[in-house]
C-alpha cells in the first residue's frame, strides 16, 4: 500500500518538473535571504559585544549562515535535476544519485526546522550574558584612562541614549557604584571627604546618574544629581517623578530588542522551511513518477507517484531489516572465509 499515491500523465509530470524548477530558484533566493539575516544578527551581536563581556554565544547566527549556504547549494542542484528530469538521456545520469540526495534533503529540512526553533528558544542565555556584561560595563564607566577600558564610558552613554534606558535594572544601579573617577574629585572639599569616609570601601557614591539617563520628554530640565533629596530641587518629588529619567533598565531594553530580532528571523526561517519541505515532497513525487514509468522509452505513458512505497510501519521494518542485513552481511562473509580456509587447510 503506497503512501499518498498520485497518478501522473506526461503533461502533469512536465508541469511538476517545471514548477519545481521555478520553486527551487526562488528557494535559492530564500537561502540568500536567510544567509543575510544570519549575517545581520551576527553583526548586531558583535556591535554590542562590549556590554556582553565578549562572551555572547554566536551559535544562532552561525547556524543561520550555514543553513543559508547549504540551502543555496542544495536548491540549485535540485533545480538542475528538475531541468534534466524531462530529458530521459540527461535524467539517466542523475538516476542513481536521487535516492541518497532525497535522504540528504530530508536531513537538511530537519536541520532547518531545528535552527528555526533555536531562534525562538535561545533567548535565556542572552539574558544572563547581558546582566553580567552590563554590570561590568558600569563598573568600568569611570576608567577612561585605563587602556583597554577607556571606551566603556562612551559605549554605555551611547547605549543609554540609543535604547532609552538607564542602568542595569533601573537608574538606582548607578547609586551603588562609583562612576565619577577620582581624578575629577576635589579632595580638598569637605563634602567629598565626608562621603568617602562614610563609605566602607572608601568609594565616592552619589545619588546621581550620568547625563545619558536623561529623558528628553521631561517638561523640566534634567535633574541628574541629588535625585532622592526632594528639598534640593524646587517642586520636585522623587517618588512621583516619572518623566525625568528613563525608567527602563538597559538589560530589559537590549533583551527585548534582540528577542524581537530573533523572533522575526525565526518566523522567516519557518516560512522558508515550509517552502523547502514542499519542494522535497514534490521532488520525491517526481522521482517516483519517473521511476514508475512502465516503459522508459515511451514518454507518453502514465505512471504513479508516491511518497513511500509501503506504509510507514512497513517501511520502517524494511529499513531495520536492511540495517541488520548490512551487519549480518559482514558476519556471513567472515564465516565463509573461515569455512573456505578450513577445507583448504584440511
Amino acid at each position: 500500500m503506497a503512501l499518498l499515491k498520485v497518478k501522473f500523465d506526461q503533461k502533469k509530470r512536465v508541469k511538476l518538473a517545471q514548477g519545481l524548477w521555478l520553486m527551487n530558484w526562488f528557494s535559492v533566493l530564500a537561502g540568500i535571504i536567510i544567509f543575510g539575516l544570519g549575517l545581520f544578527l551576527k553583526i548586531e551581536l558583535r556591535k554590542r559585544s562590549d556590554v556582553m563581556n565578549n562572551s555572547e554565544s554566536h551559535f544562532v547566527p552561525n547556524s543561520l549562515i550555514g543553513v543559508g549556504v547549504l540551502s543555496c547549494v542544495f536548491n540549485s542542484l535540485a533545480g538542475k535535476i528538475c531541468y534534466d528530469a524531462l530529458d530521459p538521456a540527461k535524467y539517466a545520469k542523475w538516476k542513481p544519485w536521487l535516492k541518497p540526495y532525497l535522504a540528504v534533503c530530508v536531513l537538511f529540512n530537519v536541520t532547518l526546522f531545528l535552527v528555526a526553533l533555536c531562534c525562538f528558544l535561545l533567548r535565556g542565555s542572552l539574558e544572563s550574558t547581558l546582566a553580567h556584561g552590563l554590570k561590568n560595563g558600569m563598573k568600568f564607566y569611570r576608567d577612561t584612562d585605563t587602556p583597554g577600558r577607556c571606551f566603556m564610558k562612551k559605549t554605555i552613554d551611547m547605549l543609554q541614549i540609543e535604547f532609552k534606558c538607564c542602568g542595569n535594572n533601573g537608574f538606582r544601579d548607578w547609586f551603588e557604584i562609583q562612576w565619577i573617577s577620582n581624578r575629577y574629585l576635589d579632595f580638598s572639599s569637605k563634602e567629598v571627604k565626608d562621603r568617602i569616609k562614610s563609605n566602607v570601601d572608601g568609594r565616592y557614591l552619589v545619588d546621581g546618574v550620568p547625563f545619558s539617563c536623561c529623558n528628553p520628554n521631561s517638561p523640566r530640565p534634567c535633574i541628574q544629581y541629588q535625585l532622592t533629596n526632594n528639598s534640593a530641587h524646587y517642586s520636585y518629588d522623587h517618588q512621583t517623578e516619572e518623566l525625568n529619567l528613563w525608567l527602563r533598565g538597559c538589560r530589559a531594553a537590549l533583551l527585548s530588542y534582540y528577542s524581537n530580532l530573533m523572533n522575526t528571523i525565526g518566523a522567516a526561517t519557518l516560512l522558508v522551511w515550509l517552502f523547502e519541505a514542499t519542494i522535497t515532497v514534490g521532488l520525491r513525487y517526481l522521482h517516483t513518477a519517473l521511476e514508475g514509468m512502465a516503459n522508459p522509452e515511451d514518454p507518453e505513458c502514465e505512471s504513479e507517484g508516491w511518497l513511500l512505497e509501503k506504509s510507514v510501519p512497513e517501511t520502517w521494518k524494511a529499513f531495520l531489516e536492511s540495517m541488520k542485513k548490512l551487519g549480518q552481511g559482514n558476519q556471513v562473509e567472515a564465516e565463509g572465509e573461515d569455512a573456505g580456509q578450513a577445507p583448504a587447510a584440511g
Binding site: 577612561t144 584612562d145 577607556c150 564610558k153 562612551k154 552613554d157 551611547m158 541614549i161 562612576w179 565619577i180 573617577s181 581624578r183 575629577y184 574629585l185 576635589d186 550620568p210 547625563f211 545619558s212 536623561c214 528628553p216 520628554n217 517638561p219 523640566r220 530640565p221 534634567c222 541628574q224 530641587h233 524646587y234 517642586s235
Partner: protein
C-alpha cells in the same frame, strides 16, 4: 519644406537604434528610480526637521517637484523601453503607432518642463536655507522652556533629540544657551537668593545662567559631563573653560543642519542632471525612430532607406501651416469670393 536635422536610417542602423534605445530606456528607469528614492529621502528629512525651518522657507518645494519629475522620467523610460522593443517586432508595433506621438509630446513638455524646474530649484533653493534655519532654530531655542504652552510644548523634546542625534549644541555654539532663558519659571524657587539676584540683575527680568541642557553633552569626554557654571574656572576642579572641546559638542546645529540639507540637495541636483540628460537622449531617439518608421508607412522590416527627422519643417513653416489650418476653416463666408481666394492661398505654402 526641409525637415529639421534629418538622418538617413537604413534597416541595420534602425535596428541598432532600437536596441540602443532599449538599453538607454532601462538605464533611465534605473536612474529615475534612484532619483525618486533620493527625493523621497530628502522629503522625509525636511518633514522631520520641519520645526527648525521657518514656515516661510520654500525649501520643501524642491523634494516635491523632484519627486514628480523623477516619476515622469521613470514613466518615460518604461514607455521608451516598450516602444523600442515593439519597433523590432512587426506584430507589436501597430498599436504603438497612434500612441507614440502624443506620448512624445507629453514626455517632452511635461517631463522636460518638470525636470528643468526641479534643476532650477535645486540650484536656487539651498541659498534660502540659511535664513530659514536661523529663524527656525532661533524660535525653537526661545521656546525650549515653554513645555506648557500649547503648540510649543514639543520644542524641548525636539531640540534635545536634534542635539543628541546630530551631535551639535545651540545655534552656532554652546554659548547661545547663555543668552536665553531655557529654564521655565515654574521650576524656579522664588525664595532662593541666587535666583532672585539673577532675575533682578537682568534688564528684561530673564533668568540667564552659564549652563547648557544635558543634550549638549559629548559622550566622548573622559569626565562626567559638566553642564553648569561653564564660565567659572574655579567651579570645577581640573576644568579649564578655555578648552571645553570634549565636554560638550563643539559644532552649532545651524552649521550641521545646513551642511546636511545642502549635501542632500546637491546629490539630488546631480541625479536630476543625469536624469535630464538620459531623458533627452531617450526622447530624441524615440522621435527619430518614430519618424523613420512613419516614413516607411509603419512597415518594420522594410529594406527601404527611411529618413528620420526632428520636425517635418522649419519652425517658421510649421507656424505658418498651423496658423492657416487654424484660421482657414473659421473664416466667415460672405459669399463665394473667399472660397475662391482660399485654394490659391493654400497652394502657396505647398510650393
Amino acid at each position: 519644406m526641409a525637415p529639421v536635422l534629418p538622418l538617413v536610417l537604413p534597416l541595420q542602423p534602425r535596428i541598432r537604434l532600437a536596441q540602443g534605445l532599449w538599453l538607454l530606456s532601462w538605464l533611465l528607469v534605473l536612474v529615475g528610480g534612484l532619483t525618486l528614492l533620493c527625493s523621497g529621502h530628502l522629503l522625509v528629512q525636511v518633514w522631520h526637521l520641519g520645526t527648525f525651518l521657518a514656515p516661510s522657507c520654500p525649501f520643501s518645494a524642491l523634494p516635491q517637484v523632484a519627486l514628480a519629475a523623477s516619476a515622469v522620467a521613470l514613466g518615460t523610460g518604461l514607455v521608451g523601453s516598450g516602444a523600442s522593443r515593439a519597433s523590432l517586432d512587426a506584430e507589436q508595433y501597430p498599436p504603438w503607432r497612434g500612441v507614440l506621438g502624443p506620448l512624445l509630446v507629453a514626455g517632452t513638455a511635461g517631463g522636460g518642463g518638470l525636470l528643468v524646474l526641479a534643476l532650477g530649484l535645486a540650484l536656487a533653493l539651498p541659498g534660502t536655507l540659511d535664513t530659514g534655519l536661523e529663524e527656525g532654530l532661533g524660535s525653537a531655542l526661545a521656546h525650549y522652556k515653554d513645555t506648557e504652552v500649547p503648540g510649543r510644548c514639543q520644542a524641548k523634546r525636539l531640540l534635545d533629540e536634534l542635539q543628541l542625534r546630530h551631535h551639535c549644541c545651540g545655534r552656532h555654539g554652546y554659548k547661545d544657551w547663555f543668552g536665553i532663558q531655557w529654564v521655565s519659571n515654574r521650576y524656579l524657587d522664588p525664595n532662593d537668593h541666587d535666583v532672585v539676584d539673577r532675575i533682578q540683575s537682568n534688564v528684561e527680568g530673564l533668568y540667564l545662567i552659564d549652563g547648557v541642557p544635558f543634550s549638549c553633552c559629548n559622550p566622548h569626554s573622559p569626565r562626567p559631563c559638566l553642564q553648569s557654571q561653564l564660565s567659572d574656572p574655579h567651579a570645577h576642579p581640573l576644568f579649564d573653560p578655555r578648552q571645553p572641546n570634549l565636554n560638550l559638542w563643539s559644532q552649532g546645529c545651524h552649521e550641521v543642519l545646513l551642511g546636511h540639507l545642502q549635501g542632500l540637495a546637491s546629490t539630488l541636483g546631480n541625479m536630476l542632471a543625469v536624469t535630464f540628460l538620459l531623458q533627452t537622449l531617450v526622447l530624441l531617439g524615440l522621435r527619430y525612430l518614430q519618424t523613420a518608421l512613419e516614413g516607411l508607412g509603419g512597415v518594420i522590416d522594410g529594406e527601404g532607406e527611411a529618413q528620420g527627422y526632428l520636425f517635418p519643417a522649419g519652425l517658421k513653416d510649421m507656424l505658418k501651416t498651423a496658423w492657416l489650418q487654424g484660421v482657414g476653416p473659421h473664416r466667415p463666408a460672405p459669399g463665394e469670393g473667399p472660397p475662391e481666394e482660399e485654394p490659391p492661398k493654400e497652394g502657396l505654402p505647398e510650393a
